[in-house]
Symmetry: C2
Subunit: 443 residues, 2 copies
């Protein structure tokens, strides 16, 4: 799970993506929508309750219990295969082998290293995806050996999202053991590139034009059995670099100064963005990192900044993006107008992150079923906004949510990441109930 | 010699302080004053010509010739004693010993490692300083071994300003050999901290309130026998750091952003500074280096810039400094006004460089005598502006100039620095003539 999740009462600040320790000094919720009470329509509660009582489903639940020692082994095995950003191939290969062994009808690895495993349904008219992500935030060389203290497993990536991968395996095995016959096909997916600069590239590729037809999308990320992310927090990220000839601060005085342009761009952007973000759906902006220059006595030859903008509204995100572009062009023009000699400044605007925004209404069947499943398992469903793989299907109009994998965890994106199997099987149970409600069940 | 010297026709772009190769892409002169023709008053030309013909002076000139092999040895010895910024003590010790051996009446090392050697005059009513600087720009560990190719000596620091130190030794030895009796005392000084962050600390200490009384100041820096720096290019340098709590770019949105404040400060400052520098004596400003921030998805906890401002006018320098201070405070206020929650930003304004500005008129005796001495030696005197140790006495109202050490050199501040003994003795001759014209000569 990447970047940010905000759930009003979710017992999971442990889910927050951690970039550096001081980053969360100011963590507070101002997401009013997460606090709203959304009712569960009776028909969905009835559907879930009825499903759960069917003998074949109960058989699958029993299988989850019996599989627990193996599921733990799988978690350790997969966690200990490093899966850094853009280097998920080795873990993908192992995960594919595991899905094959678990009984999928066909398993393949696509062009970007996504693992796909199809379990055919009776009619196969529709396809429901259950997905977890293969990548971690940890660079190559990170010690990913799993350490166990008491019942808690410690390792970078153990919870985010290796636990998710193992729930997919357990769900598939349980379905096989119980001979569950779905109407729709199920596509189990291990996706690459969810984190950071991965920029959701696995799911973007999966849902490319001409890719597999997907009717419903369940991402498994985070822990517990209460969270349901139905709003995708989109983001645009830019690296903007002004470039000039550079020169001696006294001798070359009068030439363009890239830092001058950067300062102007920040001033113009933040002044307009401040007004813009005071209205409508929560939209944020931040200049995160700046740099450039070689010496106090030299006019720099470049000046750069990295900017992050976020909103769950595609319109708002597009709107603030426009303000940034306009500010950069205005700064370029103004700095060039100010020069007394020499060549013009140029600017390079590079999009380094593009996560789509969007939401599905809490009243759609997928969300309602997930809520009913939580309720059935005696958890209080919590709706939330986050930036996960579900962003992409949501933005494409495909019903999609992200739900937890069960158990408890913390320290995501830190070397102290941990996961505890506190009734972890309830995670599989919820996934299966939502999945079957979406696919239809013949037996 | 630090930072910048601009001489209209001086054959010495080799004298330019080099921070990095691209720094000088835009080197151009817009120093109109350096191009003005300044006449030499007949009385000074007569004084110099008369002085030069006196047998005792001719004897000193002859001594300079005879000393040449030793002067070269001294140059190699001193160059090969590393003298990095703030670590001049070892070279100072050796230079003191050499001055003692050369026949100074008393030699001592002061609290900051300046070397002082007094040669008493008949009346001792006045004191004339002849100074070169001990420090180089090169960090500890730089290979300072002197390599000779043909007649050229190569080594970091060989020209700037170790050659200057050896001319002081030769002048003192020549005066001793010729038994020159001056009226004023002569204070030979090896000064620390001329370069970069040394910030002229040696000469500042020498001319402190309560320090030795100095009536006239001749700094020896740079090469040749034509340049005369009579205008001190002053500079103020600041490191300005805005600090806030930092936080997640989405979760903590609404807290202060230090980069926002920095951008505003740059915008406010450059807008005002642009107008300010369009009038009066040339005054420059440059934001040279910026930095801060840990990640694109985090609001940074600090943002900083290094700013350089220069002028040969103390009033202009003070004026532009005020604009910077006002811009910083305004930016701080505006960014704090924009915040929606959390603590205020703070700002730390640190003066990291303070070189005083000022000028002596080209009509004062010291400048006229230096010009006449160049002329006597068949060189065309060139008046210039630069940032040298002479800045400090000039700012204190003490007649002061910086003149070259003779010979030819280049690559100052680079590892390829070189010096060639092309009629180098003329450097000693000019120094001696100017010195004697200032001190008065009894024999």
């Amino acid at each position: 799970m990447d970047k940010f999740v905000k759930v009003a009462t979710f017992a999971g600040s442990m889910l927050l993506a951690i970039a550096s320790p001081q980053v969360f000094a100011q963590e507070e919720s101002d997401d009013e929508e997460s606090k709203k009470v959304v009712p569960i329509d009776k028909q969905y509660q009835t559907q879930i309750n009825t499903l759960a009582k069917r003998p074949a489903v109960q058989a699958a639940f029993k299988a989850f219990d019996e599989l627990e020692p193996q599921t733990k082994k799988d978690l350790i095995t997969l966690t200990e295969i490093p899966s850094p950003p853009f280097k998920e191939a080795e873990r993908a290969k192992k995960f594919a082998a595991m899905l094959r062994e678990a009984g999928a009808d066909s398993v393949w690895i696509d062009e970007v290293s996504n693992v796909l495993a199809k379990r055919k349904g009776r009619s196969g008219k529709k396809t429901v995806v259950v997905e977890a992500h293969l990548d971690t935030v940890f660079p190559a060389g990170t010690d990913v050996n799993v350490k166990q203290k008491g019942d808690t497993l410690y390792a970078p990536g153990v919870g985010d999202d290796t636990r998710g991968l193992t729930t997919l395996l357990a769900v598939l095995k349980g379905m096989e053991k119980a001979n569950l016959e779905t109407d729709a096909d199920v596509l189990f997916v291990g996706a690459v590139g969810e984190e950071g600069l991965g920029d959701l590239r696995g799911v973007k590729h999966l849902l490319r034009p001409g890719g597999p037809k997907v009717d419903s999308y369940i991402a498994v990320d985070g822990h517990g059995i209460d969270n349901i992310t139905h709003r995708g927090l989109g983001s645009h990220r830019y690296r903007i670099t002004f470039k000039g000839p550079g020169g001696h601060s006294y001798g070359a005085f009068g030439i363009v100064n890239p830092h001058g342009a950067l300062g102007k761009a920040i001033y113009y952007f933040t002044t307009e963005a401040d007004k813009f973000t005071k209205q409508g759906v929560k939209t944020t902006y931040s200049v995160g990192v700046i740099g450039g220059g070689t010496s106090v006595n030299a006019i720099p030859f470049e000046s750069w900044m990295e900017v992050d903008m976020r909103s769950e509204s595609p319109e708002q995100l597009a709107g603030i993006d426009k303000l940034l572009q306009a500010a950069v062009q205005r700064a370029l023009k103004d700095e060039n107008a100010m020069k007394r000699r020499g060549p013009d400044l140029t600017v390079d605007v590079k999009l380094v992150g593009d996560r789509p925004s969007g939401r599905v209404e809490p009243t759609i069947p997928l969300v309602q079923r997930a809520m009913a499943a939580s309720k059935y398992l005696q958890a209080e469903p919590k709706l939330s906004v986050s930036s996960t793989n579900a962003n992409t299907p949501i933005a494409k109009g495909i019903p999609a949510i992200t739900i937890g994998s069960g158990g408890t965890g913390g320290g995501a994106h830190s070397l102290k990441e941990w996961w505890l199997n506190d009734k972890g099987v309830l995670g599989m149970q919820r996934i299966l109930l939502v999945l079957l409600a979406e696919t239809g069940l013949s037996n």
